[in-house]
Structure formats: structure tokens, C-alpha cells
Amino acid sequence: MLPHQDEKEPTSYRGSCGSCPVTVRKMPYLGSEDVVKELKKALCNPHIQADRLRYRNVIQRVIRYMTQGLDMSGVFMEMVKASATVDIVQKKLVYLYMCTYAPLKPDLALLAINTLCKDCSDPNPMVRGLALRSMCSLRMPGVQEYIQQPILNGLRDKASYVRRVAVLGCAKMHNLHGDSEVDGALVNELYSLLRDQDPIVVVNCLRSLEEILKLEGGVVINKPIAHHLLNRMSKLDQWGQAEVLNFLLRYQPRSEEELFDILNLLDSFLKSSSPGVVMGATKLFLILAKKFPHVQTDVLVRVKGPLLAACSSESRELCFVALCHVRQILHSLPGHFSSHYKKFFCSYSEPHYIKLQKVEVLCELVNDENVQQVLEELRGYCTDVSADFAQAAIFAIGGIARTYTDQCVQILTELLGLRQEHITTVVVQTFRDLVWLCPQCTEAVCQALPGCEENIQDSEGKQALIWLLGVHGERIPNAPYVLEDFVENVKSETFPAVKMELLTALLRLFLSRPAECQDMLGRLLYYCIEEEKDMAVRDRGLFYYRLLLVGIDEVKRILCSPKSDPTLGLLEDPAERPVNSWASDFNTLVPVYGKAHWATISKCQGAERCGPELPKTSSFAASGPLIPEDNKEREQELPDSGALMLVPNRQLTADYFEKTWLSLKVAHQQVLPWRGEFHPDTLQMALQVVNIQTIAMSRAGTRPWKAYLSAQDDTGCLFLTELLLEPENSEMQISVKQNEARTETLNSFISVLETVIGTIEEIKS
């Protein structure tokens, strides 16, 4: 080691002394040239070449440096020479080296081809296989012409080891050709090799054909092939079994009889020791039996055991994926795992992602018998050291509260008593969603609220609390005083969303308790209009100010909306999800990500990066707030400007909307192109301009995203519209219903709608 390197990079010098194994890896980057020079000299040294052992040691050093990321391409010539040896280890090492550097030195690599070709006809099948595999992995242009003949010979080799290599070599050769042409003769040869003695050759044929025929939809599984594979199943190793099960999904049995024959043959694989095979077999059962729901249910009952075993497997990763699949099954068969609920209790030492999945599962399998125990368990998690996990548990209790309201509200109320910031904020958010969906718990929630304000610091929590105080303020004695505190400190408030919420809440409370609120409302409006720097807040302040000038009745008409509306549950996914709707996603990555999310990822790969928090976001989706705060009130604000044709719609409640919507037929349906992300608020604002009222819409980013709109023209004709955004199609589906059939007004309404959506789309891009 040269001394000057010591000055440059002391750690690397230390590393070279071997005192610190971690830095050894980094050391050679500096001394690279010298190391290469030294190794080159050693490789050329005839004395070393003569001594088999020393020669091999030098080569091993080259490989070692190579794997440590050091550029060793400088000794390529010498390494090629070293390949001409009878020593099989040396050959292996040199081949490994060549596969790594051939793309960098294609001209030199051609020199090695000769030796490799010769090795392909070596009497030792190991050498033949090794040489063929290395040749196929060279990944350099022009190598195709040299490998074609050895591969064809390899396909007919008497040693199965060589045939296995040759079959996969076909796929590698095809890739080198640039996927352009498919060699028909080769494909036929591979199809005939499906009858090979060796089970791995058979599976490799399938893998190879699948890659070669990618553009034509992959390998074709016809009846003879399907039955041949089924009969060979028991001879395959677990990887082969899992893959063949996957290929068999393509086969469509001709008759019911054949179908049940196949299912009988596959029965034992549901009990395999490999979870991968069990899942593969389950999926095949579900798909084949798609017309026989009782068979599907039966299969799901039978894999319950293996699936539960995977859920408590030693491997945490297996547990995680199995839990994701359990959730998938629960969507269709809610009671399926209810008696095993204790399986999903979290233990302290489990990693987070497993705990979060388990909580989610617990939330879904709750029934009358286990609700007490499940809630007790979840209650324990709420005080977990990890704030994230505690919050997930609280949201889960909130989810259960939609069915078992009283018990849950009591637990949540007790949690407030702990006076922990991270707990209080989530509890209050849960309460907000709960009073909206289960109005019967409003009284209990209102009693629990006083005192919370001391333990809330974050924006989400404050918004939720202020919203509750505004909407249900008349039942909470000290509501005005709590809001007054917020008004006092509004100057130091950092979140604009909180200020917006505060404005609305205070105005609402003013309507029910004017005496206590008038003064501070004045102060708040003054502050927002005169001093506030955030445009949106200032505009909101001005808007309310002008609204108040119009008169108190007008304010009431606009702000006093229904305080709760469970019918908005229609925005959430329908509860009924038949097995067939997800059977094709079973045993893929979809259950891990959630279908909607998966579609987004696979659609705009490259456009958007989805971080590791995916499982978490999807798990919160059901329990998060139903509608963004801003929308909640905005949807009740009516546009009051005049319009050419559409009039501002009066008092169309969500309830009435839903009734009308369900009773009418779709008058018009069309799709508009729509790409990427957008802000629902923008759309809502734009629609408001043309007097189309938004009844309800999903949160931004939800998939599928939905919105319900209504509008009325001056003759009283109602237009009800549903916007549906499914990311898979990258287009917006519009369905319009009309209570009086009039084509010309319908057409002009649609053109208005088109213009609005078109404009938004343009702004976006």
C-alpha cells in the first residue's frame, strides 16, 4: 500500500490492514490500478501458471476483488488464457469472470468463445453444462451465431443437467436477438421437450417458451399438455409445482367432468408443506371453479389451516404476505376467520408491518361473539410505545364502532383520559368520522370532548376538534370558550387549514349561540381579512363577511346543513365483494398493495414513486376521514351567481339525491380522457362556477374515485351525474341521469360538463 493513500483516506488504509472488515470493501477503489497491475503480473508469471494451486489462488483473488466492485476488466486477456485448463474450479471462476466483463470487452470475449465451444463437447457433463450456461450468459452482441449450435446440441444431450441448461439457453438466445423473430423450429423442439424424462427440463421448457412467446401471449396450454403436466406434478420440486400451477391457470377444461377430475388430482397440493404451492393450488381451484361458488367456499375452508399456519410462520415476511391474503378473503367471507381471532393478536416482538396487518384483520373479523375480546385486545395496543401502532389501533376501534358503537365510544372516551397527545388527536379524528356515520353516538361524543383541546397539537387533530365544536357546539357547554382560545392564538397558528376550519366552525356556532360568539367572530374576521397572509383563508374570511352582510337567514340557509349523513357511506366500496372479483389477483402482489394501489403503481410506473408506507396507507383507507375537511362544508355552499341555463340548486340533500339517483335510468354515458393526479377541490370549484353542485366526492387519491353532481335548469329539469375515475383505464367515466327526458337540454348539459372537465385536464397538464 502506498503511503500517500494514508493521507488521503485514512480509513481505507486501516481497512487494508484488515483491522476493520467493513472498510475493506472500499479500499480497492483507490488502489485499483496497482492491484490490477500486480494481478496481471502474477497471472502472466510462468512459475505461477505451472503451479495449479497458486494459479487458482490468484484467480480467486481476481474474483474476490470483482465481487467487491473493483474494476478488474484489465486482466481480461490473462483470464481468457486461464480458461484453457482441466481444473473445473478454475474454469468455473474464469467463466464467472467472463460473464461479468464480456459486455465491456466484447472483442476480447470472442477469444474465449473457442475454449467455451470446445468445452461444450467435453466428455464430462458438468463441464458441458457449465460451458453452455456461461456462453449463454455472456450478454454481448454477436455471440448469438456462436451459441446457436451448442444450444441445439445441448437440447439433445444425454445428460439432463445439460438439457436443463440448454432449454433455458434458448430463452437467453432469444433475448439476445432482441425479441424480434421467433424461431419456429426451436419453439417446436421445446414443445416436444415438454415430454422429457427429467422434471426440471419440463419446467424449464415452460419457463423458456413463456419468455420466447411473450409477445404472442406466452406458452399455450392445450388439453394434452395440461394433462401431461398434471400427471407429472408429483415428480416436480416445490418451485416447479408452484410455477406449473400458475401455467395451468390458462387451461380451460372442456367439461364439468374434466374440471372435477383436475381438481381431484390437485387436491393433495392444498396440503403441501410449501406455502407457495398451497397458494398456487388455491388460486387454481378458485379460478377453475368460478362457476361453482360452493366449491370455492369449500376450498377456502380447506386452506384455512395452511394459511393460518403461514400467518404464524417463523418467517415474518411469509406472515405478512399471508396476512394480506387473509384480509383479501375476509372481504368476501367476513365470518371466515372469526373463530380464529386470537391468531391475529399481536405479540410485542413482531415487526410493525405485521402488527398493522393484524389490527386490520381483527377489525374485519369482528362479530357478536368475539367483539368483547377483540376490543379488549385492541384497547391494549392503544397505549403501545410506538405511536404509529397505537394510532392504527385507535382507528381500528373507530372502524369497529360503526357496528358496535356504544362499546367503542366508551373505550375511546377512556383513552382521552390518558391525556397523551398522539392518542387524543387520533381519538378526536375518529369521533369526527363517527358522529357523521353513526349520529346516535353524538351525545356521548359531546360529553367526552371537553378538555381535549389541551392535548392536541397537530393540524389534523385540531381540525377535527374544531369541526366537532362548530357542528355540535350547542351541546357542548364550553365550546365557545375553547374556540375563543383558538381565536386568541390564531396569529401563531401555523396551519392554514386549521384557520379555515376555525372560521367555519365559529360562524356555525354563532348561529346557535350568538351572544357568546359575536365578539370573537368579529375579531377573527377582522384578523383574517386584514392581517392574514394566506389567500385562501383571507378569501374565506371575506366570503363569510359578505355572507353575513346579506343577512342571517342567508347564512343559515348555506351553513346549516345536515349534521350527519350516514348515506354518504355509498362513497365507500360496496361491502359485497364476490370471490370471483379477486380470484385472479390471489397469490400475486395485488393483495399486498391493494388492487387500486397496485393498478396505480403498474400503470404509472416511473411517473410516481410509491414508498414503503403503502401497506399502511391502504390499511388506513377504510378508517380515515370520509371526506376532506374542506369539502364537508363546501359542498353545502351554493353558488348564487346567475347562469344561462342552470340555476343554483336549492336544498338537494344527499338523501334525496340518492333516492332520485337510484330511481332513474342512465340517460347518457361517455368517457373522457383523464390522466394522473388532480385536486378534487379544483374540480368542485370549477363546477360551482357553472352552477353544478357537488353532492359528494371521494377523497383525493382514492381509487376508484367517485363524485356525485347535481344541477337543475330553469325549467326544473334535474341532471344527476356520477363521475367515476378508474386508474386502470386512465379515463373519466361520466353517467348522467335526467328526471325529464329532453335530449337537447341533456346535450347542452353534457357539453358544459365536458368543457369544465376538459379545462381542468388542460390546467393540469
Partner: protein
Amino acid sequence: MIHSLFLINCSGDIFLEKHWKSVVSQSVCDYFFEAQEKAADVENVPPVISTPHHYLISIYRDKLFFVSVIQTEVPPLFVIEFLHRVADTFQDYFGECSEAAIKDNVVIVYELLEEMLDNGFPLATESNILKELIKPPTILRSVVNSITGSSNVGDTLPTGQLSNIPWRRAGVKYTNNEAYFDVVEEIDAIIDKSGSTVFAEIQGVIDACIKLSGMPDLSLSFMNPRLLDDVSFHPCIRFKRWESERVLSFIPPDGNFRLISYRVSSQNLVAIPVYVKHSISFKENSSCGRFDITIGPKQNMGKTIEGITVTVHMPKVVLNMNLTTTQGSYTFDPVTKVLTWDVGKITPQKLPSLKGLVNLQSGAPKPEENPSLNIQFKIQQLAISGLKVNRLDMYGEKYKPFKGVKYVTKAGKFQVRT
């Protein structure tokens, strides 16, 4: 299927990479590191991560991450299982699956990875077949190799590759024919504050070590096969025979393998062999607390419980612990807040206990929740479910093999809440 594999240690160094198709740049691991950073604790890195062009499926084993790069839709369980198999193979070859062992044997590691996957598809993963392709390193062999210049690679094609039964090689010969079975049961349980069982289950496996010449056909029967709830089988077992007669009939692989794994989950059948008396309390507005636990035998079927270790993750506000123990030794790590008590055996005359004071950070609020105790133990010569092997018969060969069955019960995820 599996495009590339990266091995990453806890400090975030990629110390090995292998590509089966085109080379994927190391920068793809940045997404993994990002996730690792977000997860705070290495244990919490999610196993599936998506990046713009790839999916990263990873496992965490022995302080190492095995990160595989996937480009097409795959069954996730398949990949995870395979990665574990890779880790198992390293463990099998080098005695441990650690960064040092892998670096020391980097050449063998590459040879193994080359044989285990081709073009991204799993090929040879059975340990006994791999060992014929690539001989594991031993001290003796490396000495011999360095003297004679011979290698750790088999010169001839392994016979197992040619056999029609994928799990057994042809022409096996032993001078001593032996068949051993280990019945290993692990108790997973959650015990609540008052000592009653919240949840308990036995996860059992039967591991076999078979060294029999030729093509023996074995059948193994149990005294009480109905005990077994959910059984998964090694591919060698004839499933129909089990369905009809409850007998395990099979041509065994050569060497070590897992014959079956099973669960016993009906609550009343799961005996809990130890109990813990505990009183852990933190005083309000004071910087200390009391800690007192005692362990005793419960339903131990008259066998000695040994190898007991108690691990407790104390709350963050705990600064230090001053404890005295009647038996064994304890350590408390003030950084990770983990208390470990190595107890050893329980002698019923004098029950082991650990008690003393807990020092808390002054001024901090008292912890909301008491910590849970994780307990490890072992009972030799007992399968806690009561499972018993009745007999083992061999057909197809003439010699008389030596047979043996051992039983052991261990704690799995055994947790006592306080």
C-alpha cells in the same frame, strides 16, 4: 423471475450482488434504504417495496437483508420462500449465515447462487443435491485442498440429478443404516396479567435424518394421529395413504429433511409448562419502580424445564435496573432497554426469582403500560401435545435399519403480559 439479488448488512452496505439477467444498477437499492430509514428500526422494513421499474422483495435474516429485484408480476410467497432457502443453504454450508462467513466464502457463495438459479428460475435447491455439486468448506478439506490442490467441486455429475425421484439420489450406500426422527414442538402462547391463557397453540415438526441404502419405502405410524390438526407434508409423502389410514408412507430423501409440520390448536390440549408470578409497578411522580418476577413449573408432565431465558423490553423512561436474582444471571442494556435474565433450570424446591428497583428518568410521566415478558425454555424427552410415534416399518430393502425417535418441546413466541 428473480432478476438480481443484493445482500445488505445492517449498516447499509451492499456487500454482495448477483445478476441472473442483465445487470441492475446498485442504485435500485436506494429505494430500499429509503424504506429502511423510514422504518427507523431495521426489523420494520416492509418486505415488499415497489420502485418505478422493479419490485424489491426482501427478507431479513440474521442481521442481513436479502433483497431480490423482480421485474414481472410474481407470486410473492414463492420469492420469499426461495430467499429463505438461499439463506438456509448458506447456513447449512458455512455454519452461520453472517456477513463474515459470506465474505470469507465469497467464491462458494457465487458458485451456489449460480447453481440455485438459472436465468432467474430456481433449479437445484435441495441441500443433498447441491452438496454433491459443490462441496461445503471444512477446515480439514481446505487443508487437504491446499496440500493436494484438489477442489471443493464434485468432478462427476451428481447422481441425484439423474434419479427419477427428484428428492432422492440413486445408488445410495451406507455401511450403517440409520433412520432418526426428531419430534420438535414449539408452544406459542400469550398469557394475560392474571395468568390465564389468552391464546395458545403448538407448532410441531418432525425432522428426519435418514441414512438408508437403496430405495427404502418407509411407513411411520402414530399412537394418536388424530391429535394433529393441520398437517403439511414433504412432497415424498403419499397423501392418499394419510387420508385413508393416518399413516405416513414415503420413500425418504437422503439425509436431513423436514417430514411434516403440524399444528395443535384446540385450547384444552395445549399445556402451559411454566407460570410467572410478577409484580411490576411504577410510582406516580417518582423516579423509581419495583420489579419482581418468579418462575415456576406448571403442567410439565414431570420433566425438567431447562434453558429458561426471560427477555423484557422495558419502557423508554427506564434508565437502569438494580436487581438481585436467586439463580442465573441478568443483564440490562440501557441503550436498547432490554433486560435479559438467563435462568437455566427450574428446581421446584427453590423457585428462581429476580427482583429489585427500577430507576426512571426523573420528571418523565410514568409508563402507561407494563412491559411483556418473552420466555424461552426447553423440555427434553417430551412432546407437549402428547404425540407419540408408534412404529416405523421399512419395505423394499432387506437390511435391518437402526431406528430412533427423540422428542423435545420448546417455547416459541411465548409471551406473558404484566
